[in-house]
Amino acid sequence: MTAFIHPSLLFAFCALIVIFLPVKIGRWFPPIAAALAVFSVFKMAPGSYATFHYLGMTLKAGRVDALSMVFANVFAIQALIGFIFAFHIEDRAQHVAALMYITGAFGSVFAADYPTLFIFWEMMSVSSTFLIWLRRVPASTKAGLRYFLFHTLGGLMLLGGLLLRYKATGSWAFDPVAPDSAKIYDYLVMLGFCVNAAVIPLHAWLPDAYPEATVTGAVFMSAFTTKTAVYVLLRGFTGFEVLGVMGTLMALYGVFYATIENDTRRILAYHIVSQVGYMVAGVGIGTAMTVDGACAHAYAHILYKGLLFMSTGTLLYAAGTSKLTELGGLFKRLPMVFFWYMIAAVSISGLPLFSGFVSKTMTITGAAEAHHVWLAIGMEIAAVGTFLSVGIKLPYFAFFFKEDSGRELTPIPWNMYVAMAASGVLCFIIGIYPNLLYSLLPHAVEYEPYTAWHVLQSLLLLGFTGLGFYIMRNRLKPEAKLNLDFDYFYRLVGRIVLAVARKPIEVIDSWWSEFYRVGGLKGLLKIAAGSAWFDKAAIDGVVDGSAYSVQRLGRVAALTQSGRLQQYLSTALVIALTIFALVWFL
């Protein structure tokens, strides 16, 4: 069966159902829709489907090939896991927002031309803003607004780029851009993509907004926004050198901030910047192995980052806080959360037997083999930082370090454990049987992860990073501080624009008021008196008079409706015959 069911349709339809049903019944439908999407993704065959017409354009929404299938595959699986995780939520709006968000993500992955992409891109932008706002605390409202403004900016850059591109080339098609012949509009589109991919310096929305999202919303957002951006970069911009450099910078920047942050989810958010940096670097380098590495890394990352957000989200749900300075000593009371967290942590660090090992090392090796040695070294440093911050620092200070503060823990619903277990098991399975993942990748894979050297190198790196942590553990204590990031500049720009707009207008305004008071007022009053007289006497007379006469005419006309049938019949016949006669004989 090669029928193509666009997964977006499944999720959008499910959203319609969930809107109208009571939430206790409605919440069963998203996991079902996600399961159907998994089924549809596995049944998909490459080809071009879903052509439709809109506003005079012929748009294709169903480009299925190896690249889109690998992303659709992991999106569907993560959607299922995410909806199982969110099963206990009794807020209908959150389910609907998540469903529309995933609709947008699938639509973007399968879009074959820019207008389709833009529609789904903006759908994702709006829905994910709601995933932040629906936490319904003041900090989230503010963070969501900043998030939305920034993403709208990215969307506008994308729109500007695609419109200029249409004007210049006459085509809407979304195809790879050759790096040597990239024009202004291509760079505009790339900038729009880079906003969603959290490339520095356009990344500050991510650590600003993700920690303020709902517990379940952050799980969805960690997977879809950034990976859709990686997908579109892979589709359009492989081989752009600048992306290689920026990617490595992102990788380092992210772990740098992760080491000094206090909020668990902010640490993970900076980590997304770091890991996506690997993928962006893979896109930039552009060889078959790095592209494969980027895809594999995206796949594995969605799973283990989702699991990381799920476990820290569970901590937030149970303990009511996500700050490391307030957590501590929770190992005895939440052992399973710790266990699944560590599975994800070792996956992200690249420990052999887990999914990170088979994906991250492919990207690094690909970089090195393409003779970008400094990029490879940068990525290795980032790997050190990853294990340091996410693999050791976060769990140590969250689950150990202090005596249990005795704080009250909200009981954790069963579906959260099921979702975490499913994710963890998948991370492990991919780790021990990498061909499951490699068979989905767009190019043939020549990389062999489980060689003695690769395993040893990873163990050396990670083991001695642990030693480093042990030595520096006092210095690495979390502190309840806010770390400045590029959002300082975003807000600065906003304030400057506001001040610039205010000041000249203020000056003009006060000058004008003075002039008006002294000079204009008297003359104005005189003119006003004159026009008032003219208006009342002359114009109102005419207008009101004509209105009243029309109304009187209307009353006269209504008088013909006397209520007597014989009069009706005779009047009708007389008038009709008169008209007929006049016309016929004249």
Binding site: Y257, I381, L388, K481, L484
Partner: protein, 92 residues
């Protein structure tokens, strides 16, 4: 259960960690990359130094930045917002 706790004391774990790290370095003498991506990779113990050194350097530099110019009070932006709206009210 308690006899496991007697074995897995803190000092035992510490000793176990050092021993396993040493084993890894020794293994590195025998297992080497067959196509080193750069010169330094050939030396045994390179990655060990890289890992530990990297972690220490990262912790040092990151925390130094945090303590000097990056780390601010938690309500840093809130205070700025209050200042802004106050100055707006004055101007009116």
């Amino acid at each position: 259960m308690s006899f496991l706790k007697q074995i897995f004391t803190a000092s035992f774990l510490k000793k176990a960690m050092y021993v396993s790290l040493l084993v890894l370095v020794v293994l590195n003498l025998f297992i080497r990359p067959h196509e080193p991506h750069f010169n330094a990779e050939r030396f045994p113990g390179f990655w060990a130094l890289f890992g530990a050194g990297g972690a220490i350097l990262l912790a040092f530099i990151a925390k130094w930045c945090a303590h000097t110019f990056l780390g601010k009070d938690v309500d840093f932006y809130l205070r700025k917002e209050k200042q802004n709206s106050a100055s707006l009210k004055e101007a009116k």
